[in-house]
């Protein structure tokens, strides 16, 4: 075991000095994930606007606007409302860029409504924040519609009476109309949604896609040792031949795990990817690294030369990447493709992360994807390692 660790340490030192390993293992997948996320992912950032609010009327009716629609936006985390002292102050906040839009209630607004006269609400929007202005407009329209509904209710009730109601009675009718709840309600229902964000998807896709290039370093280095002539010297050393193969495997494993850990961490902090439960992610990464090592070892040991092995592994990595859904959503393709994708570790890895994207999901829900990943790794790896040993022991 000591010899295997010595060989693994030597391999890792070589790989670190060979900058291409760092490029393939970390820089390329992270860079592509960032580019794909920017180009194709849209935005996953939560909506957050800042609104200025100035109430020059100060009536009981306009208090409903502040405590109703605007307060609801604040509670939903969609907006922050800054109360301005005057309409001009509200406009200034928008002009200075401190607010995306402003809602201004002019003086006499409430009285005009009660009198059944026209009244205007003023919305001032920043040119850079059209969506924020639209949302604020919708809130204002909702408020106006509600006031209009109350007014119609009172008017209808007054029409039905034999004689005009007294002002006290009129106010009572208005209060009752406003307090009446709508018979139709739309209730948001919290569900355990399983949907990776686009940033997470591209980070995960590129991570496992390039993992297949990273994981092949061990077996390729065995072929390189044969090419440069160091393999006979290793075989002549007083160590078991399996320790040479094990050393190569350990080197690949460490490189794969470190590369994935760096990608998960970097994409979380720099791109905002949300990988999910850390223990679950660790299990999936472990399974993905094992499966990538197994498949690349099997492919590479069928080749005669380092170049041939690298070429074959590239073909397999790209084919499996496409088939496994690392470049597009398999749900958009034919069903047969989705079924076929199950032979690839890529699909199981992404499936596992999709499971983890549900807020309550943890390692326990990952039994199937992890079992497939580890199974693929063990089967192909056992064959690959047996074949790799035949490279060390010449017959």
């Amino acid at each position: 075991m000591r010899a295997a660790l010595v060989i693994a340490a030597k391999d890792l030192r070589q790989r670190l000095r060979d900058r291409t390993a760092i490029v393939v293992a970390v820089i390329a997948p992270f860079g592509l994930a960032a580019i794909f996320s920017m180009l194709l992912g849209g935005t996953d950032d939560p909506i957050s606007f800042t609104y200025a609010y100035a109430d020059a009327d100060g009536s009981e009716i306009t208090a409903g606007l502040r405590e109703g629609g605007l307060a609801a936006l604040e509670e939903a985390g969609i907006a922050t409302v800054v109360e301005a002292d005057s309409p001009d102050a509200a406009r200034d906040l928008v002009d200075d860029g401190e607010a995306d839009a402003a809602l201004i209630v002019p003086s006499g607004f409430g009285a005009a409504l009660v009198a059944g006269q026209g009244a205007d609400l003023e919305i001032v929007g920043s040119t850079d924040a059209g969506f924020a202005t639209q949302v604020l407009g919708a809130v204002a329209e909702g408020f106006v519609a509600e006031v209009e509904a109350v007014r119609l209710s009172v008017a209808t009730a007054a029409e039905a009476l034999a004689e005009p109601p007294s002002p006290e009675r009129f106010a009572e009718l208005a209060e009752r109309a406003a307090a009446t709840s709508s018979p139709i309600r739309v209730e948001p229902v919290a569900v355990d949604v399983r949907q990776m964000s686009s940033t997470t998807f591209y980070a995960a896709s590129m991570a496992i896609f390039f993992l297949f290039f990273t994981a092949q370093f061990g077996v390729l280095s065995l072929l390189a040792e044969r090419r440069v002539g160091t393999l006979p010297r290793l075989a002549a050393a007083p160590i078991p031949s399996w320790s040479i193969v094990l050393g190569k495997a350990i080197g690949s494993f460490v490189l794969g795990i470190v590369a994935m850990a760096v990608l998960v961490t970097a994409s979380s902090f720099l791109l905002g990817a949300e990988w999910g439960n850390p223990f679950g992610v660790a299990l999936l990464v472990l399974g993905a690294v094992l499966s990538a090592m197994g498949i690349t070892a099997l492919i590479a040991t069928l080749a005669r030369t380092e170049e041939q092995a690298g070429g074959w592994n590239s073909i397999v990595a790209v084919t499996m990447g496409i088939l496994g859904g690392t470049f597009f959503d398999l749900g958009q393709g034919p069903e047969a493709l989705a079924i076929l994708s199950r032979i690839t570790p890529h699909a199981w890895f992404l499936e596992g992360l999709d499971i983890l994207s549900a807020p309550s999901a943890g390692p326990a829900e990952l039994a199937v994807p992890v079992a497939f990943l580890v199974g693929i790794g063990l089967v192909t790896g056992a064959i690959g390692l047996a074949r790799a040993r035949s490279l060390v022991v010449r017959r």
Partner: protein, 319 residues
């Protein structure tokens, strides 16, 4: 020293080694032994079976038959104990270009079980021996060919081996580095290390080796000291004629002359073994011309291992 060697248990004893690759027989019943502090040379042309033999001795190639013992321990591909006694210097430059000389030595030292202060001391010692102390921490891909060769040999010495196996260590080396390597091997021999040295350079075998095994077509044709081997063909002189034209016919005609033991045509001339070169030379030239060949040059040499090889195999080492 000769008496000690004769009575001491051999450091290396290999018997009836056999190896085939498909239908091609690479090694066919090779047997020899090396005594402590003896330098033994395997002399033969490219493809004679030298490297295959060495690979089986070092346990890097599975053999078809035969036995190998080093320091009394059986050697096989999985033999860990016996391999501790072997220092192996492969023909190729078996070093890592991305690592420094010191890192290369440390890595292989660790594989041989060295560690801690012992490893550091031994690495420093080897760097001093091979003259690379000043360049110890530089990557080896910036080294000259000679420096790489020295490091290649230094790695083989790390474990203080009882048997040092050198597989054609001077191939592709400039004359100055070659001479330095030969001097190093001579010094190691003087220090009492048993050495197995393969080469296709006759002069290297003559300079370094206490005994030489002449190998061709996977078989050892003869072995012994230089004097013993030369004795196999008598005290003959060798005449090398640089010639063109009817070389085969000339060689046939030469074989019919009294005093001519062998006449072997080769590309660019004829090699001739004679009892007394100086007295017979005019007659040789006359016969060759009469057979239709033109002589462009003549060289007379004392009997050497090249002549022995020619005698034993019917062809030159360079063929």
């Amino acid at each position: 020293m000769a008496t000690d060697r004769a009575t001491a248990a051999p450091i290396l004893a290999c018997s009836e080694l056999r190896k085939s690759f498909g239908d091609r027989v690479a090694v066919d019943g090779v047997s020899f032994a090396i005594a402590p502090s003896e330098t033994y040379g395997l002399l033969g042309p490219n493809g004679a079976g030298k490297t295959t033999t060495i690979s089986m001795i070092c346990g890097t190639l599975v053999r078809d038959g035969g036995t190998v013992h080093v320091a009394g321990q059986p050697v096989d591909v999985g033999a860990v104990e016996a391999k501790r006694h072997i220092g192996y210097v492969p023909q190729d430059l078996a070093i890592y270009p991305e690592l420094s000389a010191r890192e290369n030595l440390r890595f292989f030292g660790q594989l041989y079980g060295l560690g801690g202060a012992d490893l550091k001391h031994r690495v420093d010692e080897i760097l001093e021996t091979i003259g690379l102390t000043d360049r110890a921490d530089e990557r080896t891909d910036g080294f000259s060919g000679g420096m790489k060769r020295r490091l290649n040999i230094g790695i083989g010495l790390l474990n203080r081996p009882r048997l040092l196996v050198l597989d054609e260590p001077t191939v592709g080396v400039d004359p100055q580095s070659r001479n330095a390597i030969l001097a190093s091997v001579e010094e190691l021999g003087r220090q009492g290390m048993a050495i197995l040295y393969t080469t296709h350079y006759m002069e290297e075998a003559e300079r370094l080796c206490d005994r030489v095994g002449i190998i061709d077509s996977g078989q050892i044709k003869a072995e012994g000291t230089r004097r013993q081997l030369v004795g196999l063909i008598g005290q003959k002189d060798r005449v090398d004629l640089t010639a063109s034209g009817e070389l085969e016919a000339a060689a046939d005609a030469l074989r019919g002359l009294d005093g001519v033991d062998e006449a072997t045509p080769h590309e660019g001339g004829i090699g001739i073994l004679v009892t007394d070169a100086r007295s017979i030379l005019p007659r040789l030239l006359e016969v060759v011309s009469a057979a239709g060949a033109s002589v462009n040059g003549v060289e007379i040499v004392e009997p050497d291992l090249e002549a022995v090889f020619l005698h034993l195999t019917g062809r030159a080492l360079r063929d």
